[in-house]
Amino acid sequence: MPADVNIWILAGTGLAAGLLGSMLGVGGGLIIVPVLTLALGLPIQYAIGSSLVSIVINACTATSVYIRTHMTNLKLGLLLSCTLVPGAVAGAFLAAGLSSPVLTIIFALLMLYVAYVMMPKKRRRPLPEQTEAAKIVHEKEHAPHAWLDGYYYDPAVNEEISYRVHRPVIGMVTGFFGGVISSLLGVGGGIINVPVMNQIMKVPLKATIATSSLLLCFTTMTGSLIYAYNGYVAPQIIAPLIISVYLGARLGATLAHRTRSAVLITIYTVFLVLTSIIMMLKALNLFG
């Protein structure tokens, strides 16, 4: 059980996690876990447990908004959760068997990967014949899972967007690994689910993000239960964290329209790279 912790650092961490989480669409876990371990000196298992609990409330809040606007593909979310939940259980048990330095190094590597993914890149457009060929294959493959198809109203273009869900089996297989990563490292798992749903399953980005928040509810709930049962969730840590993450997320949603996301992404990327280096050095006993 961790001793006395600075409530202001906790509140500040939660606020930053909620703020950046809602403004950039990233999980707060990549901020909460390193700050709790580096600034407060908490064992990484406590940091992961606390992070998971705060992501549950963040994900539930986001889901309540997205589902009201019908952007969430409920059927797809429930289907993918069928493999995400066992993945989350496997990840939490795996974390219990790993030592803190190993877990810290894996976490630092994930941070570097996310920093790389978030860097702006030039996109290569597929050739027209490639997309046409892909369309024909998709039509043939599609019929058995037409019940997963979705639609939503997009106010930005003022029209209803209908879409088909492709390759749900691949989504379910990768979903399992998303669950493992989520519980193992205390992050949302969206870093795996979002690209898979958007790029491979061809779900539009807005519906992907909305459905991903529903997935987070299930994965982080499962992970939280395991960490709480093992005594890695301390009330005096999670209470200020949950409240500040919630407030940060609400504030972020308001500020999102007024802030330049490129600046935020740069700050976030620099934070991820620096923190991952410090975490790695600490794990290898080369730092402080």
Binding site: A3, C60, T61, T63, S64, L79, G231, Q236, I243
Partner: protein, 121 residues
């Protein structure tokens, strides 16, 4: 046929609205309990380190204004929210006679129950 699809979409929208309402209500209650627990923690001179209250001691803990019991109750409500979403969805899909989503909901419910059993073991 078109009319049938429209009615199905309308029912799904109604489910979405109910789910959103349930989630917002759950979050509000949970946050109230957690804020209450935090206030009690600061003003009751509770020990710096607290553990979550076991479910069996939750009611006496709440009655005794134990901060850990309040925070634990808030946490339990948050963790129950996804299960509430699942049960409400299952009831909807059964009523709408949509076979595949019903199977998915049951499988997920079984997965969650199995996870719970595994955790408690």
């Amino acid at each position: 046929m078109e009319c049938q699809i429209d009615s199905r979409h309308e029912k799904l929208h109604s489910l979405n609205r109910r789910l959103s309402l349930a989630l917002r209500a759950g979050i509000a209650v949970s946050l109230l309990l957690i804020v209450g627990g935090l206030i009690l923690y600061f003003f009751s001179g509770a020990p710096h380190t607290m553990a979550l209250t076991p479910v069996t001691s939750l009611a006496p803990g709440l009655a005794a204004l134990n901060p850990a019991a309040f925070i634990t109750a808030g946490l339990i409500i948050i963790l129950l929210m996804p299960i509430a979403v699942l049960i409400m969805s299952l009831a909807h899909f059964i009523a709408a006679r949509e076979k595949q989503p019903v199977i998915v909901c049951i499988v997920l419910l079984v997965m969650l129950a199995a996870s719970l059993i595994l955790i408690l073991k």
